[in-house]
Symmetry: C2
Subunit: 448 residues, 2 copies
């Protein structure tokens, strides 16, 4: 897949492996909205002999033949909502962050690698449907069997759904004979100063990052993938996330985290292919053949001490981030995207941007970068403290966890002023496979 | 407030107590997006002497005078996103359900009724700002003090935010001298068959239902109201909810719950004033003067046994609801909005819609109705069972809890086929005050 296309929020996909509408219908795959159109139109309903299960089946069969008129309806509109699933790289990495996240970590319950292969094959087929707004396998539904699609996204657009799959370090233990394929620097993260990790938010054999502009679409994807995994893998943990929706912020500015500060200002440019090769994608020279075109994901579940933060002064908050709250600009500058000038000082020689501020420490000498793609979360209250359990699902993608995420996080965990206001409660890393071609399956170079 | 206006998703408010833009700016209240426009435009930024806190303050002061041009920008657009806060009834009841819910239950930590009055006065001022996309009191912010607004919704539209306030039965105990004002039938709900309530999801002295088309806007509202309550009330529990977003379902059809079925088909028509008087609103003849124009809210946190449901056949699922999954029509009918014909039978005389189906039991003889306004929820995994903690935040509004919600729920809890697939884990009822006029405060007829 061409990177430029993957990052476009509006450009319709035309040539990256998404079947043309005719092909879709010939294969008796129906978009969720086609179904609605076909069965919702009362005239057509009568024509098909009334409702009920029989009527729905009749509608489906009719839809398989009555192709062009129905398929043409709203086609451009839907394609604009579709992020191609197949391609050189997985989607959901360079894709501009959609409004919602459902992140799921799975534990395998099998010890057979062929079961894992079958799971990945089934997940690939389902993921292609889920990301294109197609119901999973409903053409074969029978009233006396459970429906193949759980149905809560029936009638909804694809909503830019992406599904990104990865393998945790645990997959390379002795169970599947894969220990020889573990990339050298791919291990669980070292302990960081101040970590307060809870086992229920850590690790996993496999992950799926579902993102979509609609929460119900993202939930539906994870729920159906978990269902398909039954007998082979079980959910280990899940975490929802959100950011301000695009429609609430027509300016399209950098989103704010729950501390009220813009988050993502210093991110590298995902449209710069050279930067992405240097920062995100593993290439053929990176040693691990099955990761060529893949990347490594680091996730940290970071609870904010919201009540403490809310009692701190604006100047303390700005010194903590090293940025102005309202504009997002580095302290002393007026523009959000101004360079971080760590040498700037006031009349007394005191640095304008405190050296232990979050921005200064995360930036360091500027030589190490990663691609952040985080979401806010709000999970009700923490029963132990009576305070809001809300914060950040920090997610970053990088070529090398140790050289990038770990080196930055070691600096931050020791000295970051922000540490006073947050606690890391969850942690996981995953090797995100390269993209998959139609006919292939996710992770086939590792598992095949 | 005129009900028709409250229910309009698009009509701009012009005459229901929202100050004209000139008034807003004269009072140094700025919409979150005005702030962005004024300080974000680099030309203006330079004019105002650069960034930083000083620059922002200068921008605010300048904005207080440079009225018409700035205020005119996008005015219609924003008003379409605004649901009036002031009016005869509270918003968030007849308002078509926005995409997101943040529901908060509070416990008072004071025993002084004047503290409660002050809280409601402060909440009223804040709620008027939060629902109109105005920053809370930022005109008085000083760098050495905590910001008065936590900032994460800075730059976002009002996003149809509504805040609905209510009092729980506990408020009428001996603490505040209000026991004489408790409406006769307003008590905690009786125990229902099969209840599996957990104390952390039950009850509360006060509630705030925040709804908005943007999750960050809804979260921001609850977080700031909780902050304002500090010293007087603490959060008891919170629960987020969602439905499919309007943009994911351009057809605007009835949303589906997480069991894949349409939920809300049989709801009364909120534009029918007579129905609303009969079903929802307390009037002057209903005996409790401070509830004239108010209504009662019942909330049930219902966890779905998703894994069990997903193993049941389509025909079992449809028999459980008494409706077809795809169309939402009653079994045997083709149209979602067809009347529920409980007498319809097949050739052997067996009712098409099982008498113990959810639809049949909820409908009963059709004489008792309530207005449902529920959301789906997904709260990660239940650590005890290893299954998804997802389901429904059931919310209904009615004139009389006992005659409406309780009578229906007693029928359902005993015989509903759906009980096999769900468990009620939380429960609360609140008396939602009548609406408030500008200059007044929420609950003043009760507390004043």
């Amino acid at each position: 897949m061409n990177k430029k296309d993957k990052n476009s929020r509006n450009k319709a996909d035309t040539d990256h492996g998404i079947p043309a509408p005719e092909t879709q219908l010939f294969n008796t795959k129906f978009s969720r909205r086609d179904m609605l159109r076909l069965t919702g139109a009362s005239g057509l309903g009568l024509l098909l002999g009334g409702g009920g299960v029989g009527g729905i089946m009749a509608a489906r069969q009719a839809a398989g033949r009555a192709v062009p008129a129905a398929a043409a309806l709203g086609q451009n509109e839907e394609q604009a909502e579709t992020i191609p699933f197949y391609g050189k790289h997985q989607a959901g990495i360079l894709t501009p962050a959609q409004n919602f996240l459902c992140f799921a970590s799975f534990d395998l319950t099998t010890t057979s690698i062929s079961d894992v292969q079958k799971l990945m094959q089934a997940w690939t087929t389902a993921a292609a449907a889920l990301t294109s707004g197609t119901m999973i396998g409903t053409a074969n539904d029978k009233p006396n069997l459970p429906p193949t699609d759980t149905g809560e996204a029936d009638g909804l657009t694809p909503s830019k759904c992406t599904l990104t799959f990865g393998a945790g370090p645990a997959l390379f233990d002795s169970r599947f004979g894969l220990s020889g394929k573990r990339p050298a620097s791919f291990t669980d993260l070292p302990a960081f100063t101040g970590d307060s990790l809870e086992p229920q938010w850590c690790g996993g054999d496999l992950c799926v990052q579902a993102c979509a502009d609609d929460m119900q679409v993202a939930f539906h994807a994870i729920r159906n993938l978990a269902r398909i995994a039954r007998g082979t893998a079980v959910l280990r943990w899940t975490q929802e996330g959100f950011q301000r929706s695009g429609s609430a912020d027509p300016s399209g500015g950098t989103p704010r985290n729950l501390l009220g500060f813009k988050d993502g200002t210093g991110n590298p440019d995902v449209t710069d292919e050279t930067q992405m090769r240097n920062i995100v994608w593993n290439g053929s020279a990176d040693g691990t053949a099955w990761m060529n075109g893949g990347t490594y994901l680091a996730l940290r579940r970071v609870r904010f001490r919201i009540e403490v933060w809310d009692r701190s002064s604006l100047s303390d908050q700005e010194a903590t981030f090293g940025r102005h709250r309202q504009s997002g600009a580095p302290i002393g500058a007026g523009d959000e995207f101004a360079e971080l000038n760590l040498a700037a000082a006031d009349a007394t020689g005191k640095p304008l941007i405190p050296p232990d501020s979050h921005s200064a420490l995360a930036h360091g000498d500027g030589s190490v970068q990663m691609l952040r793609r985080s979401y806010s979360y709000s999970s009700g209250m923490d029963l132990k403290t009576g305070q809001l359990d809300a914060g950040l699902v920090f997610i970053s993608f990088q070529k090398d966890l140790m050289k990038q995420f770990v080196s930055i996080q070691q600096r931050l965990s020791k000295n970051d002023r922000l540490n006073e206001y947050m606690v890391h409660t969850g942690s996981a890393v995953f090797a995100c496979f390269p993209g998959v071609r139609e006919g292939g399956y996710i992770g086939e170079l590792l598992l095949g």
